[in-house]
């Protein structure tokens, strides 16, 4: 069993209205924050026999389901083997 941590964000070329709104609020509080981008953090467990298989499976899951490649990028932050 593996455990994965994934971050999905809007692609950098796409305006993030949520992030912009938060940046504006931070700026109005005088914090020096030119840009904020908001994404989603996901944790999942995965059945795979080795790390290579787990990575391959995770890539497919991210591309097909967890992120919409039209507007989003994903990053696999961590993939670790979990004690059964």
């Amino acid at each position: 069993m593996f455990e994965a941590k994934i971050i999905v964000t809007l692609r950098s070329s796409i305006l993030d209205p949520q992030g912009s709104a938060v940046a504006t609020s931070l700026q109005s509080l005088s914090y020096p924050v030119p840009e904020v981008r908001i994404g989603k953090y996901m944790e999942l467990t995965l059945q795979a026999s080795d790390e290579q298989e787990a990575t391959a499976l995770l890539q497919i899951i991210c591309q097909k389901v967890l992120a919409n490649p039209v507007m989003e990028d994903y990053r696999i932050l961590q993939l670790t083997r979990k004690e059964e």
């Binding site: 809007l10 796409i14 209205p17 709104a21 389901v65 967890l66 919409n68 039209v70």
Partner: protein
């Protein structure tokens, strides 16, 4: 013409869609549950508005993987008529039947109001009863309706006449104020390359009778029926 309305957990415009097809248009309508695998021989399939699967992950994303969608995709690929309204439009982009995607409204607000839209292409099977550049008034109710596609896809859509509706003002002018969600090029509705799949954010099914506030939507349904009859006869 036989129609089917697909109901996902969280659909909430299914009853309006069934009413428009059954009572206004006079069609026989099958109510198809998302776990079903058959569209019961429908000529037209409608994916209604709502919040399928609570909009979890992304609007329309989880619905696009539900069991009925295999039949819906086959229906579209066979050249049969398919329309998605609001959340139904999101399901169509998520399942790859239409290009682009629908993002959070630029204003971050959920917009529930009447809007004006201009019929940019009245040569589709869905819009043949409208005049070219006719301005319609239809309701919207969505938080994620900002249409986005890459520059290349937008150009392709425009060059091939696949932008069917754009948000405009009552005079048919495209102004930033008339665009309720920040959609690219004020796009409110598009068709696929074959012309048999329509996706739109505004709700034609809600404005089919003056009694409920407007009837600009009913001609879309009558147009579909007309196109279907012509297709059957020819």
């Amino acid at each position: 013409m036989k129609a089917a309305v697909v109901i996902f957990p969280g659909s909430n415009c299914d009853v309006d869609m069934i009413h428009a097809l059954e009572d206004v248009l006079g069609c026989q309508v099958a109510q198809v549950w998302h776990k079903d695998t058959s569209l019961q021989g429908a000529d037209l399939v409608a994916l209604p508005g709502g919040f399928s699967y609570g909009d979890y992950l992304r609007g329309g994303a989880l619905a696009s993987f539900s069991p009925i969608m295999e039949a819906v995709i086959a229906h579209a690929q066979a050249g049969k008529l398919l329309m998605g309204v609001c959340n139904g439009f999101q399901v169509l982009t998520e399942s790859g039947l239409l290009p682009g995607c629908l993002m959070r409204n630029r204003t971050l607000q959920f917009r529930c109001q009447d809007v004006y839209l201009t019929v940019e292409n009245n040569q589709t099977v869905f819009t043949s009863l409208y005049r070219s550049n006719q301005v319609l008034r239809l309701p919207i109710a969505h938080g994620e309706g900002c249409y986005y596609a890459s520059e290349a896809e937008l150009r392709e859509l425009e060059d091939s006449g696949r932008v069917v509706f754009r948000y405009s003002n009552a005079g048919g002018e495209y102004t930033p104020e008339a665009n309720p969600n920040g959609s690219s090029r004020a796009i409110a509705g598009i068709v696929n390359a074959a012309g048999n799949v329509l996706g739109m954010m505004p709700h034609p099914e809600r404005y089919c009778e003056e009694l409920v506030g407007g009837s600009d939507g009913r001609w879309l349904f009558h147009g579909i029926l007309k196109a279907w009859k012509e297709r059957v006869i020819s």
